[in-house]
């Protein structure tokens, strides 16, 4: 709840009049004077008007029928505010509240007291109305004034219940007169303050409360730094930003940089200001100046990411690599990644181009069978590998699209390679390729099936690519662990493999039970029957 704004809300009640903030930088002294004068008068006679113009029917009613009643609570509330308001001089010695949540009427500051008036009036409005009676009671507890003692609370309570409404007495009118006087005084004070160098604490408080302020009177470097340091100590973002921007615009770059270096928190705020204003060049410069090269590099990298044009993206990445990543020895891992990224994009570009052309001609059987869904550019390494295994599996290692070349350049682990290549070859149903991939030469010229990722996973991949049962059987039989084998065989419903496993474990009862599931003369039924009738197997 800010005083200034309350004021403009009031003014807004008068249609078509421009919003005025006398503390705004762009209002001249004369203008401010006239505004203050006119608003004072208007404030006075606006009082009744506002009530009648108020949208609330209830309030309107109260105001008309018993204007006394609607006004009576006001002196009381204003009396709460008076001690604070009338003590413009006291504010400097007595640091008032800044936590605006605490004081719904942050009148405590007392400088812009025109507003305090406005606020307490708006309170009285609601007080008089019978709509929001109960909540109102809490209010005084938020006025951090010594006056908000229990007695005034009780009084308020009485009002809100409308049980005994007091008549406006002479002393009340007196009080109001006094208040008007004090408001005038403080307005004059406010006007004067505009040209007086306020103590740093006061200015900061104004910033924090969102009031008008001016920093231009702090001319010496000490003043400026004091402002900044105190703002930092208050942990208030708005104040720090204001102070740091003021410093930036009024001192030379060398001094600014020097002071920023020893104030990390101020630097953070300055940086976020730069970032928010898209001043990325300066943002990166400041980061480098502060020795935060890693952040600078990461930011430069981030800037390159959204670029859609590949050529431009590559050159941006190269730029970031040259100017930031390779310059910092701590970023060696990152720079190798960035280099890889560049290489990947440079590989993708020609491959994508030629494939797109080939596809457009419609002459390639491959692209007719499995059309490319999107452009390859910008895909991760593994996806690129998959793509190349799909369309360019047989290319030799010295061509760009070769899977082997990708594996080599990007140091893809054997597992990852196997996983991807098998998925891709299964998709195009080249089972032979998979077999070759998994076959290793044995000791004496013989061959052996071996896999780095476990045959259960291979069966899963094949199943997902809807491989035929013969193929599944073949790889299921290579799973060493019997239980895993049966479980997986059941999952992919490969009956022959299940029955074979029962035979291998010589488990006749299970096999018999399993055989009952099938029709006697179906393929599986016949197979089961043959086994069960075979005399060569020695059951347990």
């Amino acid at each position: 709840m800010d005083d200034d704004d309350g004021a403009s809300f009031e003014n807004a009640g008068k249609r078509g009049r421009q919003k005025v903030n006398i503390f705004d930088d762009n209002i001249s002294l004369d203008a401010a004077r006239t505004i203050i004068k006119s608003s004072q008068i208007e404030d006075e006679d606006e009082d009744d008007e506002e009530i009648t113009f108020d949208g609330k029917p209830v309030v309107k009613y109260t105001a008309k029928s018993s204007s006394n009643a609607s006004k009576t609570p006001m002196p009381d509330l204003s009396s709460l505010a008076v001690p604070a308001v009338s003590s413009t001089s006291r504010t400097s010695s007595n640091p008032p509240t800044t936590s605006s949540s605490m004081s719904s009427s942050s009148s405590f500051g007392g400088v812009n007291s025109a507003m305090t008036f406005g606020h307490s009036r708006s309170q009285s409005l609601t007080l008089g109305s019978s709509v929001n009676i109960e909540p109102r009671v809490m209010k005084p507890q938020f006025v951090p004034s010594p006056m908000s003692s229990t007695t005034s609370l009780e009084e308020l309570d009485d009002f809100s219940h409308g049980s005994k409404r007091k008549q406006m007495s002479a002393s009340d009118i007196d009080k109001m007169q006094q208040e008007i006087q004090s408001l005038r005084r403080s307005l004059l004070g406010a006007k004067r303050d505009r040209w007086v160098k306020l103590p740093v604490d006061d200015t900061l408080r104004r910033i924090m409360k969102g009031e008008g302020y001016s920093l231009e009177l702090y001319r010496s470097l000490e003043d400026k730094l004091e402002l900044l340091d105190k703002a930092v100590r208050l942990h208030d973002g708005n104040a720090i930003t204001a102070a740091v921007l003021f410093l930036q615009s009024t001192v030379t770059k060398t001094i600014f940089n020097r002071e920023l270096l020893c104030r990390p928190q101020a630097a953070d705020h300055y940086l976020s200001y730069l970032k928010a204003h898209f001043d990325f060049a300066e943002y990166i410069n400041v980061l480098v100046m502060l020795g935060r090269t890693e952040e600078a590099a990461a930011f430069k990298f981030k800037l390159a990411l959204p670029t859609t044009d590949v050529g431009l993206k590559i050159s941006k990445l190269k730029d970031s690599l040259r100017s930031h990543f390779s310059a910092d020895p701590h970023l060696s891992q990152e720079s190798s990644f960035v280099q890889e990224y560049i290489d990947l994009l440079e590989r993708q570009r020609p491959v994508d181009e030629s494939d797109a052309n080939l596809e457009a001609t419609g002459r390639s059987q491959m692209f007719r069978d499995i059309p490319r869904k999107v452009s390859l550019i910008g895909m991760p390494v593994v996806t690129t590998l998959y793509y190349c295994c799909l369309y360019h599996y047989d290319l030799s290692e010295n061509s760009l699209g070769s899977p082997a070349a990708i594996k080599k350049r990007h140091q893809i682990s054997d597992k990852q390679y196997l996983w991807t290549a098998i998925s891709a070859r299964a998709k195009v149903r080249h089972w032979k390729d998979i077999e070759i991939m998994l076959t290793t030469k044995g000791w004496f010229g013989g061959t052996k099936m071996k896999s780095v990722i476990g045959f259960d996973k291979i069966v899963n991949i094949l199943h997902r690519n809807s491989a035929p049962p013969e193929i599944l059987e073949k790889y299921l039989s290579l799973i060493d662990d019997v239980e895993t084998r049966i479980e997986l065989a059941k999952k992919v419903s490969c009956h022959k493999a299940i029955m074979d496993t029962y035979v291998a474990t010589k488990n006749r009862p299970e096999l018999e039970a399993y055989a009952t599931k099938f029709d006697r003369y179906s393929k599986e039924g016949l197979y089961a029957h043959d086994i069960l009738n075979s005399s060569t197997i020695r059951w347990k």
């Binding site: 809300f9 003014n11 809490m138 708005n238 930003t241 991760p380 893809i412 597992k415």
Partner: protein, 623 residues
């Protein structure tokens, strides 16, 4: 105190509980807000920043605004401009985010182009606070002068439930630990001051972590600025415990296993609302009767303790939920059957009077049976069970120094990145940082599979403490001293907080538990191992306001009167941690009751997501 009790929370009866009436706080915000919009006279349209509609829905109802405060229209703030309307005032209600300022400027310029018969007034309300940069931006865009006024509305802790307050600042952890922006801590301190103004100064303040220290510092300063004016209320809250999320990063990464936690993990609870697929919630009859196609819009449910059944279910381990639901179903059927037994008019009357309640219970039973079924679909899946097994291995410290085969498989299967990162972060924390070789391996795999863009994600995780290079061994010590791993925990009738993660007790809640009994002095060693400073402070309470108690100095008085501790989580709290605190509050020997305040409600997925480099969602392997 007297005034406090007189007040009734309007339209939010579930906020009034015996321990602390949070309805007061809600009413306070609601009043302030109405006052704020009532300042402009005449018909109004509110233009909402999307991120604020949820939180404001909790303090004011749209119908009330319409009927009593001349709010004729409500719009969403978007750059396409405002729909035409005949209102006199247009009030923009926004967070202080620079991006939004441009949208506002766009809207204003559009309006001016349109012109019209009625002259409109524009107002701007910042929530929770004005920002210098935003105002500057508006000035630069040349629209600042068009506003009749620029205000701020200080929405701090929003009451979610009778024991839960949230600031709904979803990015506070990221802001503090990644961007070094501590604004949210300022708001936290401010809202604590508001709480103290309403419920009295809190005598004992404890805290752990850098942010906690900062909040306590700011509170001290704010108190000083009030010039010694204290709220004249007997303290209703005895202790304040401020915990920095940074102190316990492991807990939010683990899969929560309470009912509410699982709903949050799977469907994302937002501002106590959850949106669920509608198919489950159409009854058989409706299916038959309706000729229209089934609804496809997600169905929205409000989850809070106003729903009696939910209040009972929310904190239970999911394995215990089924039994309760079926038991409830039996009782409710039995109660409905009573009508057959009712013979006399009196008995009939009694039954009829119970009927509305019974029908409510039956409806909520139906809803929760369906929700539980939806949750069960997920918890029975292989992905969920395997991931849970992996998490439990890691928290037990099994093979944490090697590349985990399950994580490797997840990457190969291209499972969602946030799931993979979650597991890697768990491993990093349980191993006190990963060995360089292991870390490099994961990094390479992630970058290759999910894209080079995630270099930024990984560096964010490193910066914010989730991924660490190998450091001194502390996890094992903390795990043993704080008894974080509890074997054979009883999920049906729990005897330890570890039930919320089926065997893992959240460190954050253990800290709260030890603070209450036997006190932090017994775990000094652990506190020193955890990051950030420890805070212990006493706020003097004037004699007249002190609670009448045998000895005010001892923080563990053995008086029969239950004490109340406010636990404030900076950087977020999970539903499971809440459940654990509620469990502690119910224990007779716990020593204190709990109310929880938090910057936001987190779960692992959202936490990791917020640190992730945002990339347009592309299907990883479209070919």
């Amino acid at each position: 105190m007297i005034q406090v009790e007189k007040m009734a929370a309007t339209g939010a009866a579930h906020l009034n509980s015996a321990k602390l009436n949070l309805g007061i706080l809600r009413d306070f915000y609601r009043r302030e807000f109405l006052e704020c919009i009532d300042k402009c006279i005449g018909t109004k349209a509110l233009v909402w920043d999307d991120g604020l509609t949820g939180p404001f829905g909790l303090i004011a109802e749209a119908s009330m605004l319409k009927e009593q405060h001349e709010v004729e229209r409500m719009f969403r703030l978007q750059s396409s401009g405002l729909p035409s309307s005949n209102v006199q005032n247009i009030i923009f209600i926004v967070r202080p985010k620079l991006g939004l300022m441009e949208t506002i400027a766009q809207c204003l310029l559009n309006e001016e182009m349109k012109g019209g018969y009625v002259r409109k007034e524009f107002y701007l309300v910042f929530v929770p606070r004005k920002s210098l940069l935003c105002e500057k931006k508006l000035k630069e865009l040349g629209v600042y002068g068009s506003f009749a006024s620029v205000e701020e509305f200080n929405l701090g802790l929003i009451p979610f439930d009778s024991d839960l307050l949230s600031m709904e600042m979803d990015e506070s952890y990221k802001e503090c630990y990644l961007q070094n922006d501590f604004t949210s801590m300022f708001f936290a301190a401010q809202s604590l001051m508001t709480l103290q103004a309403l419920y009295g100064t809190i005598p004992y303040v404890y805290g752990k972590g850098d942010c906690a220290k900062q909040v306590v510092d700011m509170m001290r300063r704010m108190k000083m600025e009030m010039g010694g004016v204290e709220p004249q209320i007997t303290p209703q809250i005895d202790n304040l415990l401020i915990l920095d999320r940074n102190v316990d990063l492991l807990t939010p990464l683990l899969s929560q296993l309470t009912y509410e936690g699982l709903i949050d993990e799977i469907f994302n609870i937002k501002n106590t609302n959850v949106k669920l697929p509608p198919e489950k919630f159409v009854s058989q009859e409706e299916k038959k009767n309706s000729k229209e196609p089934l609804p496809t819009e997600p169905k929205k449910f409000i989850l809070n303790s106003a729903d009696e059944l939910y209040a009972e279910l929310r904190d239970k381990n999911f394995n215990a939920v089924g039994a309760i639901v079926s038991r409830k179903a039996k009782t409710i059927t039995a109660e409905f059957d009573e009508r057959h037994a009712a013979k006399t008019v009196g008995e009939m009357k009694q039954f009829v009077s119970k009927l509305p309640h019974l029908q409510n219970v039956r409806a909520s039973l139906g809803i929760h049976t369906s929700i539980a079924e939806l949750v069960k679909e997920v918890t029975d899946s292989d992905e969920f069970l395997d991931s849970l097994r992996c998490q439990q291995e890691l928290t037990h410290g099994i093979d944490t120094d090697k590349v985990n085969p399950y994580i490797e498989d997840c990457i190969a299967r291209e499972e969602p990145l946030s799931k993979v990162l979650r597991l890697i972060c768990i491993q990093s924390i349980c191993n006190d940082g990963l060995k360089p070789k292991v870390l490099d391996f994961y990094k390479r795999e992630i970058i290759q599979t999910y894209g080079f863009e995630h270099m930024v994600t990984l560096s964010n995780l490193e910066k914010s403490g989730f991924l660490r290079p190998h450091a001194a061994r502390t996890y094992q010590v903390i795990r043993k001293t704080m008894k974080l791993i509890v074997e054979d925990v009883n999920e049906q009738n729990p005897n330890d907080i570890a039930y919320v993660y089926s065997g893992y007790a959240p460190l954050s809640v253990r800290l709260a538990q030890y603070l209450a009994r036997p006190g932090w002095r017994s775990i000094t060693e652990v506190l020193n191992l955890l990051p950030g400073p420890k805070v212990e402070e006493v706020q003097q309470i004037p004699m007249g306001l002190r609670k009448r108690r045998a000895s005010v100095t001892s923080s563990q008085s053995s008086m029969g009167e239950q004490k109340l501790t406010l636990v404030f989580f900076l950087g977020g709290v999970t539903q499971a941690e809440l459940a654990a605190l509620r469990f502690l509050a119910q224990q007779d020997d716990g020593g204190t009751d709990y109310v929880v305040a938090t910057t936001n409600i987190v779960q692992g997925h959202r936490l990791i997501e917020s640190l992730q480099e945002h990339i347009e969602p592309v299907k990883l392997n479209p070919f």
